[in-house]
């Protein structure tokens, strides 16, 4: 029998008041963000002039985020900073690290977003995608209730990450057919490499190695001669399916076929394994750490029904959404809060008859 899905710790029955409610009361947007998401808020005043409309649009985007993402912001993020463009690497919309989310306050001025022929909502779509993606990182790596490493690795396996078949033929056999067996295999190899990897704990838990080390242990390419010469413990050398397909295409087919045969594999078997699962987007193939966050982004901002059949999406629904959905069903649906947090503003709101109007 399958274990019951645990409830997401980020879902409470506390409601959210809308940004509009605060604006009608003449309260600053930053007050809304600080109160509603229980975060410290900082808005930089450095950099180019005229930033107020752009920061206002960021808060409006936050206001329209799906409820689960808002719950992650409230439950996981400690500080929300709207920093000026110069404080980011070129073209960066937002970042996350150790409970601090930084959003590029001058997002609409990024050169890549200023092509006049593009759809007017494009910049907004990408800003929203960034907020959801960075919230995904925060959710996955949060030690207080994030995703256990076992499930993280399942997302990697479901996204088609594989070793080169000549380095490790096991995933191309029966082990690789099911996501569950493939991810158990990856986890056992990780633990052999470093026993401090614990499948039951989320990344970020005390005693667990860092997310950067996970990237390294799963995907760092290290040559056999280096391994022989040094004390390097190596890595699983996983590659995204498109990257691996591209690499295999450059190899001599006859020699590849011979070497595969020595390992009990055929080109057809390798091809079938590579096509069994695909990454959702090039972004999800850039590094192991990006894959779960990109699945989380996709689950909240899908673009096509066809992609719903992806195994990574199915696994993402199980790992990233189901605990939250179970909590949502258990605790009941929420409506927007009719008033800000503070009692004085709440009274003013009711006196002015705004609460009833906004509650619809």
């Amino acid at each position: 029998m399958q274990d019951a899905v645990p409830l997401s710790p980020y879902r409470s029955d506390r409601q959210y008041a809308r940004l509009e409610t605060y604006r009608r009361l003449g309260l600053p947007d930053t007050t809304w963000a600080a109160e509603q998401f229980n975060v410290r808020v900082h808005v930089s005043s450095a950099g180019p002039m005229g930033f107020e409309p752009r920061t206002a649009e960021i808060w409006e985007t936050v206001d329209r985020l799906p409820l689960q993402v808002k719950d992650v912001l409230r439950g996981v993020i400690d500080e929300l900073r709207l920093d000026h463009d110069g404080s980011f690497p070129i073209g960066t919309l937002g970042t996350w690290r150790d409970g601090v989310m930084r959003i590029n306050r001058d997002w609409s001025l990024i050169p890549a977003l200023r092509e006049s022929r593009w759809h007017k909502d494009l910049g907004y779509d990408l800003l929203r995608a960034t907020l959801v993606h960075e919230s995904g990182h925060a959710l996955i790596e949060d030690p207080r209730g994030g995703v256990p490493l076992r499930d993280f690795v399942a997302l990697i396996a479901a996204s088609g990450w594989l070793p080169h078949p000549l380095d490790d033929p096991v995933p191309y056999g029966a082990t690789g057919r099911q996501v569950s067996t493939l991810s158990s295999y990856y986890l056992s190899r990780l633990r052999r490499m470093d026993p401090s990897w614990d499948g039951e704990l989320p990344l970020g838990s005390p005693g667990m190695p860092s997310a950067l080390q996970l990237d390294r242990d799963l995907m760092y390419a290290v040559g056999k001669s280096t391994l022989a010469r040094t004390a390097d413990r190596g890595s699983l050398c996983l590659q995204g399916p498109e990257q691996l397909l591209g690499r295999l295409r450059t190899e001599n087919p006859r020699r590849l076929r011979e070497k595969l045969a020595e390992r009990g594999l055929s080109l057809e078997l390798v091809d079938a394994a590579l096509r069994r699962r695909r990454a959702l987007a090039p972004y999800a193939e850039e590094s192991i750490a990006e894959t779960p966050a990109e699945i989380f982004r996709y689950l909240h901002v899908p673009f096509s029904r066809g992609e719903r059949s992806h195994q990574s999406v199915e696994e993402g629904e199980r790992v990233l959404l189901e605990p939250w959905r179970t909590a949502e069903r258990t605790l009941g649906a929420r409506r927007a809060a009719l008033a800000p947090e503070r009692p004085w503003e709440a009274i003013q709101l009711v006196r002015r008859g705004i609460g009833r109007e906004l509650g619809r």
Partner: protein
């Protein structure tokens, strides 16, 4: 199969119109009205999200980069955007 050999099918879920896009430069074939809607996208650069990572601080981020027509990954990214804006279903064919 190379990226240039991939064929993409787009379907208008409300009207049932379909079109297929492939090749470099990309060609669109199928229902003429739908092909006409798709053509403006087929010579347009497309912005996509990619990662940024500060190795010193470990700060992860999301960066916008522009894929120009014909560059690797451009066609699927371009069709995803067209599908999103035109409300089409996108599938990769054989």
């Amino acid at each position: 199969m190379t990226e240039l050999e991939r064929r993409y099918r787009l379907k208008d879920l409300t009207g049932g119109r379909t079109a297929e896009v492939w090749g470099s430069p990309p060609r669109a074939e199928g229902e003429p009205g739908l092909c006409a809607l798709l053509r403006p996208y087929l010579d347009l650069p497309v912005p996509v999200l990619t990662q940024s990572l500060d190795q010193e601080t470990g700060e992860r981020g999301t960066r916008v980069v522009v894929l120009v027509p014909g560059s690797p990954g451009w066609l699927p990214a371009c069709l995803k955007r067209a599908a999103q804006e035109l409300r089409l279903q996108l599938r990769e064919g054989g």
